[in-house]
Symmetry: C2
Subunit: 308 residues, 2 copies
Amino acid sequence: MEADFIAWLRGRLPAHPRLLLGIGDDAAVLQLGRRGQCVVTTDLLSDGVDFLLNEIDGRRAGRKALAANLSDLAAMAATPLAVVVALALPRAGGGQLAVELYEGMLPLAEKYSVAIAGGDTNSWDGPLAIAITAIGEPTDRGPLLRSGARPGDRILVTGEFGGSILGKHLDFDPRVLEALLLHERFQIHAGMDCSDGLSLDLSRMATASGCGALLELDRVPVSTDARALADRRASAATALDHALGDGEDFELILAVDSASAAKIIDEQPLAPLRVTDIGQFIAESGLWRLVDGVRQPLAVHGFQHQFD
Amino acid sequence: MEADFIAWLRGRLPAHPRLLLGIGDDAAVLQLGRRGQCVVTTDLLSDGVDFLLNEIDGRRAGRKALAANLSDLAAMAATPLAVVVALALPRAGGGQLAVELYEGMLPLAEKYSVAIAGGDTNSWDGPLAIAITAIGEPTDRGPLLRSGARPGDRILVTGEFGGSILGKHLDFDPRVLEALLLHERFQIHAGMDCSDGLSLDLSRMATASGCGALLELDRVPVSTDARALADRRASAATALDHALGDGEDFELILAVDSASAAKIIDEQPLAPLRVTDIGQFIAESGLWRLVDGVRQPLAVHGFQHQFD
């Protein structure tokens, strides 16, 4: 029952220096920095769309929900501070599921020193929905926006792309510390996390910045899981197609002036995580690829929620 | 589709002086006050539990979801600043429903100068779930907690109780300005909003404060809707039973020292909304009622989410 679960939760949640008031009241109270700016993002994940609870443990679902929110803070180069968690639990087994969800969140929250500041625990006749809101603090450089890319900037990405459905979409590490490190040490013009597919998210970043993007396809880091999918399936999708169109890579896409980009590529400050230069932003809008030195339009693929 | 809806939404959301970056990036950026404290609350409402979309318009559902969150900020005597909205939409008709939800939220957001800072719009095969997180700023007096009631404090409430299922649960006004006014002008020791039933929420407040509560039942303001329910139903529930046990009154429960309480009752600073003295907090724990000058235990009734 709700009261029992909340009592359990209160015993499990560690204290946090910036959490002035945690669960048990009508709202939580947080102390941000003295500048009083905060970064806020929300992500709702649900059974059947973002994970399948008949295939995975509730802990992995809870971890993913928190990681997806932290990835959005990483995209802004913000330091995670606190989250609140709203659950719509199925009535049957909802209590055990709620415990598992939090057991999946707690280690990740601890890793990033994120306070679980509060929540709302509901039951209903539907499947699980978990909505998390994350609050972070921008660095002194301010938040990293997706709208700052300039023609001539190089397109840098962390990690590898495609095939995350084979497991990474559940167990990925949000690039929180990586974004903070790069934002502190280098002049990053724009950044975002790649959640809906590299080509779709890159085109969104270019559009937000009022420019276009030219991909050098042979440079795109294709994951072994993307290759495995291409090998496995009867469909005509290549490993590169998966790298460009699959969702939930949760890697960073960055716009960096060419001198800084060369330095990052040379230094590889995130090693062993690799940063790769996959092309450049250009003045002409749209998404393009380079074939034998000639610019050709590149189709945008990715995940969008469908409703009518 | 998602992209169309977000484009519509961007056009509809007004600017807000404290919203440094609104929807369109990975997260929103807010400017709080210079002290950098914020109050955060989240509430998830769903079709079939909190409203029935086959009976009401999506606008009323959206309005209720926002109002319930604002009521939690009122409970802390915090000034609402911004909200983020996460939606799980049914696929069929989800686009129209999303528009209606926001059309219901926008006038209320405008009334309280709340920025709709961002959101996450998803579709799935389940019914509507709407999770809102609200961020507010405490006043110079700090947030109003539910844990500060002291034995001897009077129990004050706004408005009337019971029968909200007849309509008030959808169309209530969150007591935001009322809480701010009372918290500024008087020494309020503790406060909360009454969402799960007067007797249950009052007992929670007493427990959080380490004391008990003694209700003078003949003083409890019983709504006309509570009376209508008592008249209508074949069950034995009286109008007072409804006032004590029905959920979603969204009125304030306050703990105030007896001198200030007398002043508030005399001045009625929220008129035409009435503030009523319904008893006092006492040293002995538990919920009690006074019958012919004798203290008797009072059963706690209210709404709790059930899951196993």
